[in-house]
Amino acid sequence: MAPALQASGIVKRYGPLLANDGIDLDVARGEVHAVMGENGAGKSTLMSILYGMQAPDGGTIRLDGVAVRFRSPAEAIAHGLGMVHQAFKLFSSLTVWENIVYGREPRRGPFIDGAAARRAAVALAERYGLAVDPGALVARLSVGVRQRVEILKALYREARVLILDEPTAVLTPPERDVLFAVLRRLVVDGRSVIFVTHKLDEVLAISDRVTVLRAGRVAARMTTRETSAREIVRAMTGRVVADRPDRVSMPQGAALLHAEAITVRGDGRVLVADANLSVNGGEVVGIAGVAGNGQTELVEALVGLRAVASGRVQVNGRDVTQSDVAARREAGLAYIPEDRAAVGTAPTASAADNLAMGFHRRPPLRRGWKLDGTAVRDWARRLIARFDIRIGSERTPVATLSGGNMQKVVLARELSHAAPVLIAEQPTRGLDVGAAEFVHGELLAERARGRAVLLVSAELSEVMALSDRVLVMFGGRIIADLPAAQADEERLGLLMAGRPGVAA
């Protein structure tokens, strides 16, 4: 029998860059097929070609043995493909069923047949164990449930091959398990799933086969049962990577970052409720939690980007509650923000401009009212060399860099402040194994220099590997403060799902 989806010799060029260099991918009917690879390995390009968002420069795609050529996602959908993107594409002001049937509404005369649409949504949801309330407003749903709506949307359009792009990035461990159960039912039903991910344990847990990409080519094709995490990593990176960073024990210093009873309100809701935390010198404190439980708002309140309704913030012994961002940075705060392209850099600006920010108001970059152009360039060249940022020159816009290199720009700038307090928010999101390893090493080096590091991450493995203490946020509250030894995955998972009673 022909494979459900067969791509052969896919080639895609962007100028001098060969994003896909003759990629072959076979996805059998009824299998979960993982596609792994570091950033820039060509996963996204390949998926966008399969889904008709881009035309390949070469190669063919066959569905059930029949050659196809899509000019748009609409054509791909008509041929039985579905894709759940990382950023969901739902109308949040509409209900679940309206989202599911959108574009293919059952009609009665000129009107939408709401009752039939609901029935169809309910039937699909029951068949695959996707628990959702069809009448609920999407805006009110949690991220995990929204993802189910996305999957239902694809199934309603009769997707036989479903592409999931990093589907677990936004889920709690229990939600992830639900998703995996759904995927198993889908493949039993004869559908195929292409599962794009960075996470090894998930690949091992859910997939039947793995295709590993590296630098636009297929580096390995494996059957999951016959391989190991180590082998997959070696295929992805071309080398052996340490499982866990080394962490020496450190004598702890004074509390360098201290927050008391922080409450943040916004949109008429309490986003952070009465949060207390303290980070000592020589300590990494991790904040675990599913995205959207107040971590972002808490961090913004700490760095001065968001006003607090009440509470106090101290940096390096100074009360900075009333201070703006500049004064807090002056007091000794460096910050690696969650979104490096939207906040951490000005992507269209040169690396020199990006690396100067925060240093531009004092010598040697500043000379009187002037910004010394030579000093700015020298400074940038020094940081580029020290952090091994792969970039043409300091004049190159950072938008052209890979995720890992762009993060190095942020890291280089923030670490150069040598600030007593470092707040790192999702510092390895979207980074490949090698780049993540580098970031982890730098964070631990900060700790070894006696600085206080507050790490916010949705990756449990990252929080557990780096932290001396772990705080868990749920619904805007810090609901647990655990020493690293007591913070195991099961316990944190339950806490992240807001069930401290069970976890205790």
Binding site: L305, A342, G344, D353, A356, G358, P397
Partner: protein, 336 residues
């Protein structure tokens, strides 16, 4: 992988506009070559060049007034109001504040820039403190300013000997000294401002902060730039230049404030287009302002010499912008 240089796309847009304009002239029974020849001669012939420069001075001033906030991603649509306030204040200071001649002139210029600057800063303050979008408020604030000027020049401060809504003439020793037949010292003032804006944009800490804000305001805020204070200061500078431009016209050419005289030539909107054409980059803005000034001055000559109305030059101006926008739009779509 930096963007290809800007100049070719501008040249191309101008080329397209010229061709489209020629088709338009030909279709309405005119001779496109003659029309363009008259524009060129009218703008650039040695006899006409001073006129072109005289038109370019206020246009450049108003273009810079838009370009400065635009560099930081802000739009000042209130140029008309700021221009009129500057002109009004510049006329009133020499008339009602008894200072000796040259001192009176300087006081008038400074007061004009200050008042117009504060008025523009008001729009920024409204956005920072009360969330009123500056795009709207700067435009709306123009109307009360123009209304006030219209009332003052039409009633309490009107020159009784004249039938027009205008103030009396300011004393000769408070006027800007002439440079040749047409130009006056105001041209120097705008030249100095233009140089200062370019230098600040390229070399100064303030220019760096404004440019980075324009590229990504969230990054600027994260880096410690106080966006509110920056917006107010930027708009103050912008309004100040608009006010100064108004002062140079009143003190250098018209010698009195006449209701509507500053607004009718449309310096504000031509300046806005010049600044938009260059994306707020100062050197490009100045170049575009000079180009538009030449086009408009040439338009008068064309209207005099041929049957083609001067409105053609405004059409050309609009087409240049549209073609340029279309090109950039296309490029964005073609990018991966």
């Amino acid at each position: 992988m930096s963007l290809p240089p800007r100049v070719p796309s501008v040249v191309l847009a101008v080329g397209f506009a010229v061709v489209a304009g020629a088709v338009l002239v030909a279709a309405s029974g005119g001779d496109p070559l003659a029309a363009y020849w008259q524009i060129a001669v009218g703008a650039l012939a040695p006899d006409n060049l001073p006129n072109t420069l005289n038109w370019a001075v206020p246009l450049t001033g108003m273009a810079l007034a838009v370009a400065i906030p635009l560099r930081g991603g802000m739009v000042n649509l209130g140029g008309d109001g700021q221009l009129v306030l500057g002109g009004l204040v510049a006329a009133l200071v020499p008339l009602y504040l008894p200072l000796p001649g040259v001192l009176s002139m300087f006081a008038a210029i400074l007061a004009a820039a200050l008042v117009a600057g504060l008025y523009a800063a008001l729009a920024a303050w409204g956005e920072v403190r009360h969330g009123v979008p500056m795009l709207i408020s700067s435009l709306l604030l123009s109307y009360p300013a123009m209304g006030l000027a219209s009332y003052l020049s039409g009633f309490p401060l009107r020159d009784r000997s004249s039938g027009l809504p205008q103030t009396v003439m300011i004393p000769p020793d408070a006027r800007l000294p002439p440079l040749g037949d047409v130009l006056n010292v105001g041209a120097f003032a705008i030249l100095v401002i233009a140089i200062a804006v370019v230098v600040f944009d390229r070399r100064s800490v303030v220019g760096y902060e404004l440019r980075l804000r324009g590229l990504n305001p969230r990054f600027a805020r994260y880096g410690g730039i106080a966006l509110g204070r920056q917006a107010v200061a930027t708009m103050f500078a912008s309004g100040g230049i608009a006010g100064l431009t108004g002062a140079t016209i009143v003190l250098g050419a018209q010698f009195r404030f006449t209701d509507g005289a500053l607004v009718t030539p449309n310096y504000t909107w031509s300046g806005l287009m010049a600044a938009l054409l260059a994306g707020g980059e100062p050197v490009g803005t100045i170049g575009a302002a000079l180009f538009f000034a030449a086009l408009q001055t040439g338009g008068f000559a064309m209207q005099r010499e041929t049957a083609v109305p001067r409105v053609l030059t405004m059409v050309l101006q609009a087409l240049v912008i549209l073609f340029l926008a279309a090109r950039h739009g296309l490029r964005r779509r073609a990018a991966p």
